[in-house]
Symmetry: C2
Subunit: 382 residues, 2 copies
Amino acid sequence: MSCLFTEYLLNRYGFRMGRPIRTRRQATLASLAAELGVSRTTVSNAYNRPDQLSPELRRRVLETARRLGYPGPDPVARSLRTRKAGAVGLLLTENLSYAFRDPAAVGVLEGLALACEDAGVGLHLVPASPGHEDVAAVHRAGVDGFVVYSVPDDDPHLAAVLQRPVPTVIIDQPRIDGVDRVGPDDAAAVANIANHLVELGHRQIGVLCMRLARERNDGFVTLERQSNAHFHVQRLRLEALAAAFSLAGVDWANVPVVERFDHTVDEGASAARQLLDANPQVTALICTSDILALGALAEAERRGLHVPGDLTVTGFDGIAEAERIGLTTVHQPVLEKGKAAGKLLLGASERVTPKIITLPTELRVGRTSGPPRTAEERWFGP
Amino acid sequence: MSCLFTEYLLNRYGFRMGRPIRTRRQATLASLAAELGVSRTTVSNAYNRPDQLSPELRRRVLETARRLGYPGPDPVARSLRTRKAGAVGLLLTENLSYAFRDPAAVGVLEGLALACEDAGVGLHLVPASPGHEDVAAVHRAGVDGFVVYSVPDDDPHLAAVLQRPVPTVIIDQPRIDGVDRVGPDDAAAVANIANHLVELGHRQIGVLCMRLARERNDGFVTLERQSNAHFHVQRLRLEALAAAFSLAGVDWANVPVVERFDHTVDEGASAARQLLDANPQVTALICTSDILALGALAEAERRGLHVPGDLTVTGFDGIAEAERIGLTTVHQPVLEKGKAAGKLLLGASERVTPKIITLPTELRVGRTSGPPRTAEERWFGP
DNA sequence: GTGAAAGCGCTAACAC
DNA sequence: GTGTTAGCGCTTTCAC
């Protein structure tokens, strides 16, 4: 341990235990070569092509490097020369906490990280502040490609990414012609859940959805805002719901839809409260994410509503906690989504035609959906 | 949108819609300068020091850049020149899934990411495969510093990090002299929970803990393995428990401790099963993480044990789900941990004396701990 | 098996 | 306000 410590000081400050060495951090491949009386090529080879040296010479090089506190070839200089950064960038705009608090997003992140790990490349999280239009961070990122996860179609960071001369893969949204994309079959997924509710007999429904644009609008959503949503996944889900319920005779214009900017369980609860306060007749609450659904369940409990007797609640994503409590939801393979994006990107160097990967989803009926009670049952018990 | 598409193709492949341009990707700061008949400095200034140019000239430069498909200064070349990578590396060895499945780890990640975002620097996840001793990834990472999160003290990646001439901050473990560290006051935290259980009257206890070393050992843990653990946080927690219960007259040598390599709810359940099968007399299960505790609760339910009547279960970390279900646990400010590490690192350039930050923890008594039932009560009801 | 030469693309003094 | 000069530290043909 003490050895690690000593070396750390030596490398970081250029001295051992208070005894300063000539100059702080000067060792370089060239200086090492000079010290050894060999050429820079040889030193470089000692690190990158061990088979091009005699083992003995190599040992000497490494040994001297150690003595001089040379930490090996500088990664940045190497990247410049080889034109490979050894990292892929990840852009997830609009509030980092959004990403890390959502297990579905974390799943994507994990999948992507695994794919990167397999390929031995780093994953560079681009600092894209929320309001802050600090596009510079995108320009500053030394990466061989970008993965963009679920951003609005008018995101300036996205525009900056597309300007960079490297391949890009978009997960979920937005859809851009000519750019690789990985996403679930949203329309089918939502149709599934809608049909499930229709068959159970629900006609009085309400919807809780995530943000539809970059500006905050915590409250009811007009039809216009629904169809102008800049997050096309949310737009698509609403459209699919509208289609399915219209077919069942429900007038979509009368279906209350409540939006939340922040994606948290608490916001889900408050959204449910807002919706139910104004529409107590609702028998089913469709949420466009499990997180929101978890909040809706909490609110149902607070109101003393029995689920699913008094209120059916459904989610979207299939996160672990939802599964543990038996939430009816649409499961999507988030890990695979991230992995697929990673693989697509890492293999994208040569391809010219863009690739679209659509992942399957699965309706998982749990304990939170059931037929609505009749008014009679509601008053007099089942 | 179509505009984005066109530009993307132009930048990535060097042509517009199938019409190839001279050579694929040649535009560079120098070529731009040549085209414009100005010096490279001027072009550089157009991007980095807008105040050093006439607005008119700057407009012309940017306009020409756009026409030529010049995507702005190459980040890697810039990094080489400025000696700033604009990113910090994060090392979390030993299975990435471990990190992403554990909300406590995700919290740290989030905090760190927020700190980076504030500073406008990227967060570079170093691909450190589990068994794979691919230390090269550490050497290849173009970063200005490293944060190391909870790795064993004999981790080769850690050794490689300390060899790099950049500042380093370690979160949780290991402790290394001379290296900055951020962590909770583990000993106090564990003592708290131990005293809570002692006061409730528990003397027949069992412990579920996370991996203690790099090799897998799913099962009971000898005293020797406990005191040789390479993850000092786990070692410390066990030692603190031993101290507290010994004081209460419990012979620690007889306390069953079950270890799990993988950190998942399912493994927590199986560990609980293994422990309770062999020690049915146990009245309290102390888990060194909430994840394991969640599993223990599931197993208790499966066995028909009433919590806390038949079995008390405690966790560690204070993750959101634990809070929602009322788990008795020790809460630690994971987000702050990540943030503190980030700030420490980002401000570390000038400091020479190492800094240790200890974060407070808090015992949160929930619904899963209570006094043990007497044998009589167990058979005949409360 | 080893070395010399030629940059990768950029920024930062400092002079004009 | 603009240009000249020097590298940042490395890899990579291609001769020897």
